[in-house]
């Protein structure tokens, strides 16, 4: 079981976290991982100045943007990036 947390604070919202959550949700379904991956939202993760704040379990992800969701998902969740 993995937990993916995406920041929905003001700054990340403007960078596209809404889109990211929709796409992650879609990917989790597409790969049938509803029972293995939990998607959560969070307010500020202190990553405002970088890309969209995100964590897989307790590990921070620094390169997530609204344009590379599937790439990050493959690497972090499927482990075959």
């Amino acid at each position: 079981m993995k937990t993916v947390t995406v920041c929905v604070g003001s700054a990340c919202h403007m960078k596209g976290s809404h889109h990211v959550i929709d796409e992650l949700d879609e990917l989790i379904r597409r790969y049938g991982l509803e029972d293995d991956v939990e998607l959560k939202a969070s307010f500020c993760m202190d990553q405002c100045t970088g890309n969209i704040g995100a964590r897989v379990d307790d590990r921070q992800i620094f390169d997530l943007t609204k344009d590379n969701v599937e790439e990050v998902f493959r690497r972090e969740i499927l482990g075959n990036g």
Binding site: V8, G9, S10, A11, H13, M14, S17, H18, I21, L39, K40, A41, S42, F43, C44, D46, C48, T49
Partner: protein, 396 residues
């Protein structure tokens, strides 16, 4: 009851007679430091003539009552002032006056319109009324003391006539209106909800084509409570503890606006913060939940959307004739929830404005900074004051 212990929540709305552009019913609300006065007038006929009669009647009564004139002087002045209809040879408008002092003393006067319907503890209740003849007119008066959550629903005869010749042969009677009002009521229902629910039934009975101007004006007596809205982190982290303690001491709602701010509140309270995944509006970040706090939202984007909604509410509450679609306050996004809470459920509001330059907002390519947030909060406070509430801003 001690003085200033009540706030009067008022909402009025009219359905226009089919084919008319002007409303022949007029509602005037006067808010003064020590009292609130509602006047509903229904002018004879419809269209321009009725509109002028109703406007004059409601304005004359309001203006004279501000000058502390009694009902006798109001009725005499109306009788002498209203233009006489050439066809009918009379000058005529009904009126209902509800005057509520801040300490809960209520005076009502009614002339010829349908009697208002009153609920106390959600149960139908009729204050004792006495009739006096003033300038040849039979005016019914009552004096009583309000209790918290008393609701007084006044309406024009268009409400009683709804359905005539259509769904119900003779329209629904006042007793049916009373039944509806009691059945529809739930504890702490807003004046807006009752007014709109009753009008919706009328519109349905008229099958969307009202045969008369149809107006409802609801008065709800609310006990004053202080709602606190924490916006933004304090300029110094040393103040966090005190700021959160003050927030939680509010006698009314406790609201937190801001992602970082809500994390501070959760930390100080030793509670968990759960952020909702769900977007009800793509433009507005999701809300969150902290045990003991009534509403937790993101900051600047939510506030900015809330400011626009509140401007629309201000216009909407300002007149019984609506020039635009009423605001949909049932939406589930953070901005709508915030506005609904402040406009419908609150009486006295304190914004606790933190003055930290939010590190979350630095280096972002967007027009976000503290001065914009302060400006939005100041404007929201002004709008709430214009709606008769008491608001102030504390800076931290």
């Amino acid at each position: 009851m001690k003085s200033n212990s009540f706030y009067v929540d008022i909402y009025s709305q009219s359905l226009l007679k089919k084919g008319e552009e002007l409303c022949g019913d007029m509602v005037n609300v006067i808010r003064r430091p020590d009292e609130t006065i509602l006047v509903l007038a229904d002018g004879m006929g419809s269209g321009v003539k009725a509109n002028i009669l109703a406007t004059l009647t409601s304005k004359i009564i309001s203006t004279l009552m501000i000058g502390n004139a009694g009902i006798d002087e109001c009725v005499e002045t109306i009788s002498e002032t209203l233009p006489v209809c050439r066809e009918r040879g009379i000058a005529y408008s009904t009126f209902t006056i509800v005057r509520v002092k801040n300490d809960g003393e209520v005076y009502t006067a009614e002339f010829d319109g349908p009697e208002f319907v009153m609920l106390r503890n959600g149960v139908l209740d009729e204050p004792e009324k006495k009739m006096r003849v003033i300038s040849g007119k039979e005016v019914w008066e009552s004096h009583f003391y309000a209790e918290p959550e008393d609701m007084i629903v006044s309406f024009s005869d268009g409400v009683i006539h709804a359905g005539i010749g259509r769904l119900i042969n003779l329209g629904w009677k006042r007793v049916n209106v009373m039944e509806f009002i009691q059945r529809n009521y739930h504890m702490k229902m807003s004046a807006r909800t009752m007014t709109r629910d009753l009008l919706e039934v009328c519109n349905h009975l008229y099958e969307g084509e009202p045969g008369d101007d149809t107006t409802v004006a609801t008065v709800r007596i609310m006990p004053r409570t202080t709602t606190r809205v924490m916006v933004g982190p304090a300029s110094s982290a040393e103040m966090d503890h005190e700021q959160v303690r003050t927030l939680m001491s509010a006698s009314g709602r406790k609201i937190v606006c801001g992602g970082t701010t809500s994390q501070i509140v959760a930390r100080e309270l030793g509670k968990k913060i759960d952020v909702d995944l769900k977007y009800y509006d793509a433009e507005i970040p999701p809300i969150a939940y902290i045990e003991g706090v009534d509403l937790v939202t993101e900051g600047i984007l939510t506030l900015s959307a809330a400011e626009k909604l509140m401007e629309a509410c201000r216009r909407e509450y300002g007149s019984n004739v609506k020039s635009e679609e009423p605001v949909d306050l049932e939406k589930k996004d953070g901005a709508t929830k915030l506005v609904k809470m402040l406009v419908q459920d609150c009486t006295d509001i304190v914004f606790m404005m933190g003055q930290a330059d939010n590190p979350a907002h630095q280096k972002i390519d967007a027009p976000i900074n503290l001065s914009i947030k302060v400006r939005i909060v100041q404007h929201m406070a002004e709008l709430l004051d214009e709606m008769g509430k008491k608001s102030r801003i504390e800076y931290y």
